[in-house]
């Protein structure tokens, strides 16, 4: 992409240079496309220098041995695939992302409908309250959850003991630990779905509901044949976008469990951190995180289809 741009600029400067030599520079500077190119240059520098280049570097890095002295091809990848811990990490990441996104989408859908049904006067206040989890930085709010899950001082367990339920080892037992990290992610992410769906709900024209009501549609039928088809686009985009972000999550697992107990809650991000930074095996760590890429690429093909559609609409 960046190469294409420079090529284009070169070609333009060639054509501008040939006819009249005297004022080449000023003419070139005045050209719209040259100016436009210069204006996007910082953006290109950031994407090229700090995203594309490190990405390429990650691929190179992942094919070195631990001390980064020898090229070992794809050995890191095949080594990882034979490790049981890593196989579990793949499964846990999928479980974490898919489980959390389904719950977030459902809660967001319900809350958007509930808010939409409220009189407009109270809507703002309730919406503000419901957005609180999404406003607090997750690295900060997860500290509060961590304290709520504390093995001896858990406030949840205190409340449970009041109704005679035995204490739960929230972060100590693998099943509960997985549930806890997903719960915190749902808590943090559901409000985002809520506002996206609420915006979509507000954009559905009332006439459609009136027409459906005249045709004798029940509430569920209205939901199924009017609301959902009208919101389909935004539901898809939000789910796919959230899948990408949740899949690449780091903060919550890192703070709550740091992958434990017995690596049962590690996801790609935290495992790559442990292998790459904490154990000092950068090549293996980058191999771990590169495993995310094909999965993200599949998600994004779908997103991209919608995005290019929007670009065409904007251009046309």
């Amino acid at each position: 992409m960046a190469d294409g741009k420079t090529l284009a600029a070169d070609r333009l400067s060639d054509t501008a240079a040939t006819p009249r030599r005297g004022s080449t520079l000023t003419r070139l500077a005045r050209r719209r496309s040259t100016l436009a190119f210069l204006m996007t240059l910082p953006l290109l520098a950031i994407i090229g220098g700090l995203v594309a280049y490190p990405f390429a570097y990650a691929i190179y890095l992942s094919m070195l041995n631990k001390r980064m002295t020898r090229f070992i091809g794809l050995d890191n990848f095949s080594f990882l695939l034979t490790r049981e811990t890593f196989q579990a990490v793949i499964w846990q990441s999928v479980l974490f992302a898919v489980g959390a996104v389904i719950a977030k989408a459902l809660i967001g859908f319900i809350l958007a409908h509930v808010l939409h049904a409220l009189p407009t006067r109270g809507q703002r206040m309730w919406r503000g309250l419901l957005l609180v989890p999404w406003v607090i930085p997750p690295a900060i709010s997860t500290l509060a959850w961590w304290w709520l899950f504390d093995p001896s001082y858990s406030a949840f367990n205190w409340a449970l003991s009041a109704i005679a339920v035995p204490p739960v080892a929230w972060l100590g037992e693998p099943g509960w630990a997985r549930f806890s990290v997903i719960l915190v992610n749902v808590w943090y992410g559901a409000p985002f779905f809520m506002i996206m769906y609420l915006a979509a709900l507000k954009s559905v024209p009332d006439q459609l509901y009136e027409a459906a009501a005249i045709d004798g549609a029940s509430g569920i039928q209205k939901l199924r044949y009017v609301t959902v088809p009208m919101m389909k686009n935004i539901i898809m985009i939000t789910i796919l976008f959230s899948l990408i972000v949740t899949f690449a999550n780091f903060d919550i697992v890192r703070i709550l469990t740091n992958g434990g107990p017995q690596d049962k809650t590690h996801i790609f991000g935290t495992y790559a951190f442990q292998v790459g930074i904490q154990s000092g095996d950068l090549p293996l760590g980058s191999a771990v995180s590169l495993f995310m890429f094909p999965i993200l690429a599949v998600f994004s093909i779908f997103v991209l289809r919608d995005v290019t559609k929007r670009n065409k609409e904007l251009a046309g």
Partner: protein, 300 residues
């Protein structure tokens, strides 16, 4: 529930009975809505509430297993006071401010100028670039931090706040450019033409027409950049090691958790104060942000 009312109305019932049942149906829907709201508000507010309660307790009260963790008997501000007078908390706060404000400034300049060029001055490859901007989300921070660790170490920026100011824009610029392209594209071309006739150059056009007209979008982009930079955790976690260079998100954990002693009262007080700036920003500017965030998505 609503199905029943419509069949009742459909069974040739008098009009007023139909409306009566509709109103009743509405009332039940509203009651259900408030119950659902209450449940979720409790779920959503519990952690920050517990954070506040704990931050007001003395260490002795927190350690007392027989006391109720949900209420505070002898509230004290000593946790806040100790954080603000001793230790590195204020340094972390200042570092967070420096990084966040710099990143917001850089992001806004880069993305506004680029979005203007991409939205208005079509050139070879501009459509590809507009899509390419979005594609950077395919390469998340969890994939980039290891190569960046190596690259930053190579140029001597490891454990340096400047590296944060350098890297954070990769998280903010793509999406902000994306928002701004949407806003700029919706400005009618007649405005540009009027400006061009009056002899404005492209920068005057951007500064005197596009920026004021697209102010809600710019505000939304600024809030996004602020939120992301304030909340970033992985990069400081990986690249900052000494306490006086840390930002809030990592500083609280690293300074207040020494060995196995958890000073929970102070951790919660520190976390609450760290959450305050974004909470304040949202309290005043939430509508702009939501409008900016959802505008692009609902348009498609």
């Amino acid at each position: 529930m609503s199905g029943a009312s419509i069949t009742a109305a459909g069974a040739a019932a008098p009009a007023y009975r139909g409306t009566g049942s509709l109103r009743r149906e509405r009332r039940w829907a509203l009651i259900g809505a408030y119950i659902a709201l209450a449940v979720f508000v409790i779920f959503f507010i519990t952690p920050p509430f517990h954070m506040l309660v704990t931050s007001l307790k003395s260490s002795a009260e927190i350690a007392d297993l027989s006391s109720n963790p949900w209420i505070v008997k002898r509230p004290t501000l000593s946790n806040y006071w100790e954080l603000l007078t001793q230790g590195n908390y204020l340094i972390h706060f200042r570092n967070s401010l420096i990084v966040t404000l710099s990143v917001v400034a850089i992001t806004m300049v880069v993305s506004t100028v680029a979005a203007f060029a991409l939205a208005r001055m079509r050139f070879w490859g501009s459509a590809v670039l507009a899509t390419g901007v979005f594609l950077t989300y395919l390469v998340p921070e969890t994939l980039l931090f290891i190569p960046l660790f190596q690259i930053l170490g190579g140029i001597g920026l490891y454990n340096n706040l400047i590296s944060m100011i350098l890297i954070y824009p990769t998280l903010t610029v793509p999406f902000c450019t994306w928002i701004m392209i949407g806003y700029f594209s919706s400005i009618p071309r007649e405005l540009d033409e009027a400006a061009l006739i009056d002899g404005a150059n492209h920068f005057q056009m951007l500064w005197k027409i596009f920026v004021p007209v697209a102010l809600p979008g710019i505000l939304a982009a600024m809030i996004f950049a602020f939120t992301v930079s304030w909340a970033q955790f992985l990069y400081p976690m990986a690249f900052l090691v000494s306490s006086e260079n840390m930002v809030l998100t990592v500083g609280i954990v690293s300074d207040l958790i020494r060995a196995d002693t958890f000073v929970w009262g102070k951790i919660m007080a520190g976390a609450l104060m760290a959450a305050a700036p974004p909470l304040l920003v949202y309290a005043f500017l939430m509508d702009y942000y939501i409008a900016g965030l959802t505008a692009g998505a609902t348009k498609g």
